[in-house]
Symmetry: C2
Subunit: 339 residues, 2 copies
């Protein structure tokens, strides 16, 4: 099943979207918002699935042509947004860029930070930033939405609470990160509002690409119309989504609608090294920090700048037949103009 939220009101308006992303149906008789649906998932999901089947069969009444630019992120806001960093190749590279070693425990104990869930960007909304000097970067990721998860859940049981999957652009301000991490309290100003793919899908929608709690497909990232990366999201995700959900719930209950992210998708190179740019035959990257570190390793200096005002970022994922699964995150970076 594929779900989305029309960009209306603070929580959007829930719609069911056809598998090919061309048609949709409003479902106010079932749930006004995705938040309402996830809070009552066991009861409401079967009713939404019925409409989804009708929609794909061309039998749904009141279906309309979908304009994905009219969509907000599936959850325009949420009470809990926690982002892991499960691709340790990314962690190794960004730490190398800061001159920091990666502790051995990182292979067994997930990294995760708490983000602000109050004001997500729509998938095609401008990324407003105060200054290019903040080192504006994208981070292409996957994320899951869970229903109510009890404290101290096991990874095995956590898997049952994963109801939806989507893509994320976890916008990061690299210039602010070293100072914030030095203070010891983790990211805060360096992680402004994130955006999500227009469509969220149930795991079954991914077929056998959803296995071991991971999405085994490449994530495609374009910068200003040129392919920047298509790293595989499956094999190098050291911690699965169920493991990340269990980590988040170790000392607290998670409320329905909590979003848990994977961290930046990143593959090491075939030689075990940091991986090559697309232009050099590699799979590329899903954030600029990595290519900059690779440039430093290979050529002695970082050449690629961070994002500048006017730059455009596109993040998408295709199934094996070339169909977009989640629709595209497609955003331009602009200077913030205070009102």
């Amino acid at each position: 099943m594929k779900l989305a939220s029309l960009n209306q009101g603070r929580d959007g308006q829930l719609i069911v979207v056809s598998r090919d992303l061309t048609r949709a149906v409003r479902v106010p008789q079932i749930a006004a918002t995705l938040q309402q649906a996830i809070e009552n998932w066991d009861t409401l999901a079967p009713r939404l699935e019925t409409i989804y089947a009708d929609l794909n069969d061309g039998q749904a009444t009141d279906a309309f042509d979908l304009d994905t630019t009219a969509l907000h992120s599936p959850l325009p806001r949420t009470y809990h947004w926690a982002d892991g960093s499960a691709y340790l190749n990314h962690v190794q590279l960004v730490r190398q860029a800061r001159g920091a070693e990666m502790p051995e425990t990182f292979w067994t104990d997930p990294l995760m930070y708490q983000g602000g869930g109050d004001s997500f960007l729509a998938p095609t909304e401008d990324i407003e930033a105060v200054s290019e000097e903040h080192g504006i970067d994208l981070e292409g990721e996957l994320a899951v939405i869970v229903d109510d998860v009890p404290m101290a859940v096991s990874p095995e049981r956590a898997a049952d609470h994963i109801k939806l999957v989507m893509l994320v652009n976890d916008v990061s301000l690299r210039g602010l990160i070293p100072g914030e991490l030095a203070k010891g309290f983790g990211f805060f100003q360096s992680k402004p509002a994130s955006s999500f793919s227009p469509i969220a899908v149930t795991p079954d929608e991914l077929g056998d690409a959803w296995r071991d709690g991971r999405v085994h497909l490449p994530l495609t990232v374009h910068l200003n119309g040129e392919k920047f990366g298509e790293p595989e999201a499956g094999p190098d995700m050291i911690f699965s989504f169920p493991q990340l959900v269990a980590h988040a719930a170790r000392t607290r209950h998670l409320g329905a609608g909590a979003i848990i992210g994977s961290g930046t998708v990143s593959n090491p190179g075939i030689d075990g090294g940091p991986g090559k740019p697309v232009a050099d035959g590699g799979v590329g990257y899903s954030c600029l920090a990595e290519v900059r570190m690779v440039e430093k390793i290979l050529h002695g200096e970082m050449k690629t700048p961070f994002l500048r005002f006017g730059d455009r970022v596109r993040i998408e994922m295709y199934d094996r037949w070339g169909n977009s699964i989640f629709g595209a995150i497609d955003q331009q970076v602009v200077r913030y103009q205070p009102t």
Copy 2:
């Protein structure tokens, strides 16, 4: 004006509470929840104020006797919960306990971490913990609720967005903090669900105790019925609430209902030292980590244990005439029993 939420449904049911906390009125015709009220504050607050005036005058229809144990936290969940650490005496002490120096920049750049807002505890709800080995601690604090705050707001303008004030118990798991901070991503599992005072009040309700964006009154903390602290919340708060709100909004808009905390209220001693326990004539503490550090400084070892199952914590604030302003956070620590 004083507002609260009956513990019904995920977001509670908004009520207006009399100044003396004895009577209340349901207000579904104005707003079902406090979240709804804060999202439409400029329109709805005057209507709520009218009912508040009637209630205090004994003129409100449908008023009922208030049982504060029937209340949830004013916002049972929120989209943004960020906690500063504005009492640097606390920061110095807990860092000293870890053997870490406090950088000079801490006097000019606020510390703040992002917490999970999805599952707050009610003010009299048990604090469930998996293990006493986690080093369960209270942190008595103040917090404010804001309406929509634009990105990059100045502290001067941020002040206008502060709509409500309340108390917090920012439960902390001290045993998990060093490991988490060493990973560099800040607090996560070490900051389980917080609880808030049953009543939230508009700043004008504090009279001249609300000035310079701070609450100039002592915070009273009891442990198992004995007074543990009554530190002054005003003078040693290095950053005001407007400064903390502006810090939180530097790179993102804050959505209505965002909660910004002060950090653990803490006073240095008259001699500039770490401050004495109540039993020794000092103002005491609002967390156990501080008394433990003081014991280590004065006697060479920490004697006071962290909270144990069965321990009870009470946090309250009184006006100059001895009236409870916010009602009490009054919680027992219990072992978590997975269902």
